[in-house]
């Protein structure tokens, strides 16, 4: 046994050396590879938006260029969630939720009584993507996020011109359990959202997720996923919050009344 090797100083020095070497190795890899990963994440977001907007059929394997081209056809705007109106105070790229939720300066607190999804804060500005046919709005795509079992679940949802009927939903970033929570991504479940309505005629939010909700109402209810209850409930609660008076409801109301 080598005495010098086992001394306290040698041990600490050795640990520090290995730690330094490993951190150098990891940070070098991050420095060179992170931009590539971010580019793919941006394309994943574009793909989700384009898919729910109905521009590309979901089950086909579109290449990245087609996705980006279709994405650029959409009108990218920003909603000020305080006023419920479109604004030019920020641009859609910088309003991206994934970046915004890490920046305290862009977040506003959610009053506890309204915080049905346990989010605590939300960005003041939200990007929206509008598909226009001449002057008529065909689809309204808005992002949302939910606090899932392990992770923040990011998704986009598309609404029909009545700003109540769901045209499509897609999740573009999450860290839910593989094989369990991540089944929210499955196209059959997401497909079951299509045609459901968020609001009834009086403008009350009626949309619910769950076994009973689905059994009670084919118009407003989406079935849960067995085994993935926590993740699915988080998504359901998030939809409840994001389409409430503190979320997108004032904006949708404003659009219905002819705002542009």
């Amino acid at each position: 046994m080598n005495e010098a090797r086992e001394s306290k100083t040698a041990t600490i020095a050795f640990a520090a050396g290995v730690a330094f070497f490993c951190s150098l190795m990891v940070s070098t890899a991050v420095y060179f590879l992170r931009p590539v990963v971010l580019a793919y994440e941006a394309i994943d977001f574009n793909r989700a938006v384009v898919e729910v907007a109905g521009l590309l059929a979901a089950d086909l394997d579109w290449d990245d260029r087609a996705v980006v081209n279709a994405f650029l056809e959409l009108e990218a705007r920003v909603v000020d969630l305080e006023s419920g109106q479109l604004t030019d105070a920020a641009d859609a790229v910088s309003a991206d939720f994934r970046a915004a939720i890490d920046d305290p300066g862009r977040l506003v607190p959610i009053p506890a009584s309204l915080d049905s999804a346990g989010l605590e804060t939300r960005p003041r500005f939200a990007p929206v993507y509008l598909l226009r046919d001449v002057d008529r709005i065909e689809r309204i795509v808005v992002p949302f996020y939910a606090r899932g079992m392990w992770s923040t679940i990011h998704g986009v949802i598309a609404l029909e011109p009545d700003s109540s009927t769901i045209g499509g939903i897609s999740f573009y970033a999450h860290g839910e359990t593989p094989g369990i929570g991540d089944r929210i991504e499955r196209s059959d479940w997401r497909g079951s959202w299509r045609g459901k309505r968020l609001y009834d005629e009086t403008g009350e939010l009626r949309f619910r997720i769950g076994r009973e909700a689905a059994a009670q109402s084919a118009e407003f209810g989406v079935d849960s996923i067995t085994g993935a209850t926590v993740t699915v409930d988080a998504v359901g609660n998030a939809i409840g919050y994001w389409f409430s008076e503190h979320g997108y409801a004032p904006f949708l109301e404003w659009l219905r009344e002819g705002g542009r």
């Binding site: 046994m1 090797r5 086992e6 040698a10 041990t11 050795f14 640990a15 290995v18 730690a19 490993c22 951190s23 190795m25 990891v26 890899a29 991050v30 590879l33 992170r34 590539v36 990963v37 793919y40 593989p178 991540d182």
Partner: protein
């Protein structure tokens, strides 16, 4: 540097033995969890194999280089730090260059850290051997893990979807052919059956050879 013939033979044994004789999966029954999870088709199995070979080779070489200076008291944590760093780098490379496969592999790349094969090789081989044999041992054990993964992945994709690497091989009934896909093959239990059958065949061959 000239390699004398006995050490050349032992180097070959270090490389080849874990591939056939002392295979980490079929004989040591290690690393099964990931072997079940990533073999529903061939491509992820191939990528996962590459990742494990890279991590094993790196970990073995690094530990072998440091083995004479490594304080015994913090041996394990040092080994784990090196393995985990290598896994993070490999995961990032996969995310950047094979994003679709990386999405399929999801947590299982990160879980290479806890793959018993790696720590077993580092502890039982690299701690006591020079760099060159340690590298070969890492690659050899990686290959031993890889060929089983690739074989199971190929069988499951072929019988489960009628394709190999996504290209149609057997004409499926859906496409108007005669081959009826076996959906069980796409589910995890089929990997249990296939690895079980494989272990049985390999043991049977081993027993016949005496």
């Amino acid at each position: 540097m000239a390699v004398s013939s006995p050490s050349l033979r032992s180097a070959r044994r270090v490389l080849v033995d874990p591939v056939v004789g002392n295979n980490p999966i079929s004989v040591q029954i290690l690393g099964l969890c990931s072997a079940f999870a990533v073999t529903s088709s061939l491509l992820p199995a191939l990528v996962m194999s590459g990742a494990v070979i890279a991590v094993l080779a790196f970990a073995n070489v690094a530990v072998s280089l440091l083995r004479k200076r490594m304080p015994r008291s913090i041996r394990l944590i040092i080994e784990m730090t090196l393995i985990a760093s290598a896994v993070i780098v490999v995961d990032l490379v996969l995310q950047a260059y094979t994003p679709e496969v990386s999405a399929v592999l999801s947590v299982f790349v990160g879980l290479i850290v806890t793959n018993c094969i790696i720590l077993a090789r580092v502890e039982s081989f690299a701690m006591h051997n020079p760099v060159w044999p340690s590298l070969l041992d890492g690659i050899g054990n990686g290959l031993g893990y890889a060929w089983i993964l690739v074989l199971i992945g190929a069988v499951r994709e072929l019988l489960g979807s009628g394709t190999l690497l996504g290209a149609a091989v057997l004409p499926t009934t859906e496409a108007g052919g005669w081959f009826r896909t076996n959906e069980l093959m796409l589910l995890t239990p089929s990997a249990f059956f296939l690895i079980g059958v494989l272990v049985w065949i390999l043991n049977w061959i081993g027993a016949r050879r005496g």
